[in-house]
Symmetry: none
DNA sequence: AAAAAGATTAATGAAAAGTTAATGTTATTA
DNA sequence: TAATAACATTAACTTTTCATTAATCTTTTT
């Protein structure tokens, strides 16, 4: 898991201390500076993923700092974290190029979630998301419907895929017949149940290369995809 | 300047009306639906840049709707716009993959700024590739529509080119019928689907010199240009 | 041992996709 | 402006795909 590096610009000693400690605890690398000039200096020297700017600071305020960042062509995403909650300030913040404008006070947990979300969006800009499931020696790519085992590859159909994903999401846990049927087939009747059996057989055949993988039936209850 | 297309999911008639009108005035294309089921239907048919979800709606709430979007692999960025302001709701919203969580009431002007900001961040660099695409022993030049294989050359038409480029950009990944149709044809209906088939046939014929290249159909899903 | 549930393989049929040709439609040229 | 050319769309028809249904066999439960 990537560790993100943040620059925190906050003149208030106690809030700065608190945030610094909390963010570090949450697995961020944090550099904390207390004014705009120090911020600019550090930004010249080091690379950051995101910059958190207070607005109200003596000497050079957050807006002025943002202007400087823009002027010096330092390409770093920044956001404002401030008690200035007037609409006009928010608009100004965004017009300066902020990626977000967060009003104080904010719950630390929510802040972390927002930061991670922003960093995730900013990073994802160019890479297509790769959601892969791993089970035993198999890999399943639900976006392309591709199941792979070593160099072999199978193209699954949509029903096969839906069922496999359902089981994978509940790996090692029982999936009740009725839940599978209601979720995937939309209803739970005699015929759909038969159909489900046929698909389980297919998946078993597809997964037989790794003997540690099993789709167990729990009589009258449901199926369980077992592995490890 | 690009005009962004939004899906607004809001059951409240007066707020929905207000937002719809305001956003249209601000140069967005807006489709307004009043419940989750309609939203899912429209999402299958049309392409949007961003989706604005209310949380509290009868029948299927916004969170449930987001789950459905995820499960159906509809790749659309969405945010919540809601009066539910508890931390636990915010965290839930982000955990479902929201790009933002905006608390009501919000000033319309601020909303628009936030939307534009998000869309700006999300906008993938649509670097219209100037270089040649290579696939197998073929090269394709998208500027003058020229496909070459060894000494042979073909002049493609614009539709052929658009489709080929779309497939090339997503080489080895599924391009969903509906996405191709919405992007290239502008809409997804019976006739356009037929037309798409005709073009796929043409491209297959053009690419047949290299047997390692295949345009696969994934039943009910889309096409996949395979190579290597 | 009988009955119910599950597994497996095969058959079926409707919908989707493939192909070729005909028909519109638009832009270009005479 | 009529004729032509280029090309996307629609039509007509064939082939393929795949979820469902059916048939048959095996396991589990009572």
């Amino acid at each position: 898991m990537k560790m993100y590096k943040l620059l925190l610009v906050e003149d208030d000693a106690s809030l700065g201390y608190l945030l610094n400690e909390y963010l570090k605890m949450k697995n961020f690398t944090v550099i904390w500076v207390k004014n705009g000039n120090d911020a600019l200096k550090v930004l010249e020297e080091q690379q950051f993923d995101l910059c958190i700017l207070d607005v109200m600071m003596p000497d050079m305020d957050g807006f002025k700092l943002a202007e400087n960042i823009n002027q010096k062509n330092i390409s770093i995403p920044f956001l404002f974290l401030t008690a200035r909650s007037l609409k006009i300030d928010v608009l100004k913040g965004f017009s300066l190029g902020a990626v977000d404008y967060i009003r104080k006070p904010i719950d630390e947990e929510e802040l972390v979630v927002r930061l991670n979300n922003l960093l995730h969006i900013l990073a994802k800009k160019n890479t297509s998301q790769k959601e892969l499931y791993k089970i035993g020696f198999y890999t399943y790519n639900p976006l392309d419907f591709e199941l792979s085992f070593e160099s072999e590859k199978w193209q699954l159909t949509s029903r096969e895929s839906e069922l496999l994903v359902y089981l994978l999401k509940n790996k090692n846990h029982i999936c009740k017949h009725k839940d599978i049927l209601n979720t995937i087939w939309g209803k739970n009747d005699y015929f759909n149940r038969k159909s489900l059996n046929v698909f389980v057989t297919r998946l078993r055949k597809l997964l037989k290369n790794d003997p540690s993988i099993k789709i167990e039936n729990i009589h009258n209850q449901g199926f369980k995809l077992m592995s490890e």
